[in-house]
């Protein structure tokens, strides 16, 4: 028998605020954090809305001795570092990151770290200050000048701010987690795949506890424009941002991107029991798959949702359970019509006659699609749903595209033994996880 694994700590950052409580209150009250973007001048973009974190000071979330290192943190890294700090505290753990003097429950080598990351764009203002030193009299960039002079105006550690593995590296340093460590970069599937990998690492006894999940900020002019170029973003709700993301609704017109992340503390049940931790839930199933869509490689799922269904079935097999045991599904539910249709098709294929009875919920109308941050946020919310035995509010679905439980509704108490969480990188990697009430 492989070791059993439980979720003991949650740390989230999102447009709804810093911490799981702010996020939970927001989704239960049906409050969307989607708004007009403020971090750069968005007024000439086709899509002008997204989710941004409230103001924060990164120094409040790292030990005093580590404040200097915050200078080499891109925003994506800051989000992961904050979420990890919150998760450690929520789990009641002692690490050098939260208490330098305290006695830690786990030795460094028994702590792993698997954090999903996106493609981090350079801060435009920082780069441009150097680029301008390499322009000729007509303002045209000149590579000779760049090599000889321009590049020297970048801070020496510039590259280290933007390597995707630095989310995990900073977290491992702050908390002295010396166990297995990985950085998965599969866009929206990154967070779920990272949680799955931590599960396997603990099961095979390569670590007792892991940080897992992901974080990303798409609130950078280049990253945001890259999303707009894909044609996935809705352009019809700039005046009604809170109504923009409409998973499974007939008036859905695309996604909204944003920033955020979720870090989960995943822990071997035996060692969690030894330290009298109070787990939110047990993680009992994980499945992954790839979408094959010759029509649109890497941009859209196949219409039948074959790949998504395959991940769901594989998670059910891993959990040794059946579709009728699942009490709720946190769907990817991006509000992008082709993706939502594929997901509906996958749910119907896997859950057959039960599909219509299962509440289906999406976090995207509230916090947007945060890329590599999305999976961690959704797993954290699933854990919270199980603890609170509550399904949060659903908004923006007045005319469902299918006969499923997706329509607008208030938060409601429910008997939740098993929840499935689904993530997909829209045309690429798919992942499904199953959480169980302890």
């Amino acid at each position: 028998m492989s070791r059993r694994v439980v979720i003991t700590g949650l740390g989230t950052v999102s447009g709804l605020g810093i911490g799981i409580d702010a996020l939970w209150d927001g989704v239960c009250e049906g409050r969307s954090s989607i708004d007009v973007i403020k971090c750069f001048d968005i007024s000439d973009f086709e899509c002008q809305i997204g989710t941004e974190l409230p103001e924060f000071k990164i120094r409040d979330f790292v030990p005093k001795s580590y404040r200097k290192a915050t200078k080499v943190m891109a925003r994506d890294i800051e989000l992961a570092v904050i979420a990890a700090d919150l998760a450690v505290r929520d789990a009641g753990l002692v690490t050098p990151g939260v208490d330098a003097e305290g006695e830690r429950q786990y030795d460094g080598p028994r702590m792993g770290c698997h954090i999903g990351a996106g493609l981090i764009a350079a801060e435009a203002n920082e780069l441009t200050a150097a680029l301008v030193k390499a322009t000729d009299e007509n303002g045209v960039f000149n590579m000779h000048q760049w090599g000889a002079d321009g590049m020297n105006h970048l801070t020496p550690l510039w590259l280290l701010k933007y390597l995707p593995n630095m989310l995990a590296c900073h977290v491992t340093i702050i908390h002295e987690a010396q166990g297995p460590s990985n950085t998965i970069t599969c866009a929206e599937a990154s967070g779920g795949l990272s949680v799955g990998e931590s599960l396997r690492v603990i099961e095979r006894n390569a670590a007792d506890i892991c940080f897992c999940g992901g974080a990303e900020s798409k609130m950078n002019i280049m990253t945001f424009y890259r999303q707009q170029l894909t044609g996935r973003l809705t352009t019809q709700y700039n005046d009604h941002p809170a109504e923009a993301v409409r998973p499974f609704d007939q008036n859905a017109s695309g996604m909204v991107t944003g920033e955020g992340g979720g870090i989960i503390m995943l822990e071997a049940k035996e060692t969690a029991d030894q330290r009298d931790a109070s787990p939110y839930a047990e993680l009992i199933g994980f499945g992954a798959s790839h979408t094959i869509n010759p029509e649109n490689v890497g941009l859209e799922p196949d219409a039948e949702g074959t790949g998504i269904a395959s991940a769901m079935r594989s998670a059910l097999r891993d959990a040794e359970t059946t579709p009728d045991a699942i009490n709720a599904i946190i769907a990817f539910g991006s509000g992008q019509p082709a993706c939502d249709a594929a997901e509906v098709s996958a749910i119907k294929t896997v859950f057959t006659d039960d599909a219509g009875q299962i509440p289906i919920w999406s976090s995207k109308p509230f916090v947007g699609n945060t890329g590599a941050g999305a999976g961690g946020i959704d797993v954290a919310l699933a854990a919270k749903m199980i603890r609170e035995q509550t399904i949060p509010a659903r908004i923006n679905c007045n005319n469902p595209i299918a006969d499923l439980q997706v329509a607008t509704a208030d938060a409601t108490k429910a008997e939740l033994q098993h929840i499935m969480v689904v993530s997909t990188s829209l045309g690429g990697q798919n992942v499904a996880l199953i959480l169980k009430r302890v």
């Binding site: 000439d44 593995n165 990985n182 790839h290 990697q429």
Partner: protein, 434 residues
Amino acid sequence: MSQENIHRVVITGMGWVTPLGHDIESVWQRLQRGDSGISQTTHFDASTFPTTFSGEVRDYDFRDFVKNPEYHQHPGLNTQFALGAARLAWKMAGLDDFDNLNRERAGIYLGSGEGTLDFDNYVASHLAGLDTDTMKIHGKAWIAAARDRLSMWSEVEQEANMTLNHVAMELNISGPAYNCLTACAASTQAIGEAAEILRRGDTDLMVSGGAHSMIHPLGVTGFNRLTALSNRNDDPTGASRPFNLTRDGFVLGEGSGMIILETLEHAQNRGANIIAEIVGFGSSADAYRITDIHPEGRGPIAAMQGALEQAGIGPQDVDYISAHGTGTKENDSVETRAVKSVFAEHASTVRMSSIKSMMGHLIAAAGAVELITCTLAIRDNILPPTINLDTPDPECDLDYVPNKPYHGDVTICLSNSFGFGGQNDALVVREYRD
């Protein structure tokens, strides 16, 4: 999971696209001869950069390798390299003629890099958007320029999972799919985790490896600013000199290495030729500093020990270590110290070399290419040399197979990869026996 449920994992196919060529046997010959693939950088005009040379892939066209060119209209450089290497590995594994593959049980785990920036258009958009009074980007001016210049595909292909998407599509496999990017350790980690998925029996077959090119203006800029690259501009072929007292940094290379991994049962049932067996994997974090390696190499030590432990062997059983061996001052001395710590009295007899001396550092793809080299060493009982090793460093006092290949029994190899930021991975590969 009980021991009896653990599956053995074997390699049945390999392919690479490297600065020394893109055919397994001819590149292996060149590695034994000690050829260098390093020369002047041609991808862009690097003539005024602190480093003007690199290991570029030459005379390569991915369209000569793929069977489904319609899926790959605008592939980035990583993807181009990966497609060729993956097709070669697939073919070597005899999978072109195997019709009974359960595609849902065939997965893929890559350690591929972010794609190459559309540098000229990116820079021009930023400069057009610059308000020179405030020295800040002005959104309206930026988007006006970006709309004219930036195209969807050149942007989308930069996402780090696009290489994965293309290779999975090309090979039509729909099992578990991952890309990891732990800097210079990525493809070693990918192979290790792919092996774990097979060991557990979750899939029958995994495509694994990596692809990367950072030979672009901002890649070279980033490493030059870190002073991580060799500046030996007057001597490109002599610039990558791991373990040499006069080493002054690593040399960027590019390319891809891909392997086909299968459970032993699956390989045997379809009558596949078994090249070698993956028997150990260790992963760790230095958890020390972003800018420095832990001076005693505690992360590399933990990774090597983890790999040996899983393999159920001791240091005395290892015939060869494929070094991370980048040629930076810090890496080579710390790696030497870490090997001494793990191997104790056996450190003086084990042989360790760095093929980065010949190919340069393929970053995310380095580990896969080095693992492939280990399997060839086992097959032919030959170890590739570390070239440019004429002035020994007193801090680096192991047998690095200097300048000439070694001929002798090779059964078990340990392959090391250590990433910037402190993520470390090690694999143990051994000769296949029933």
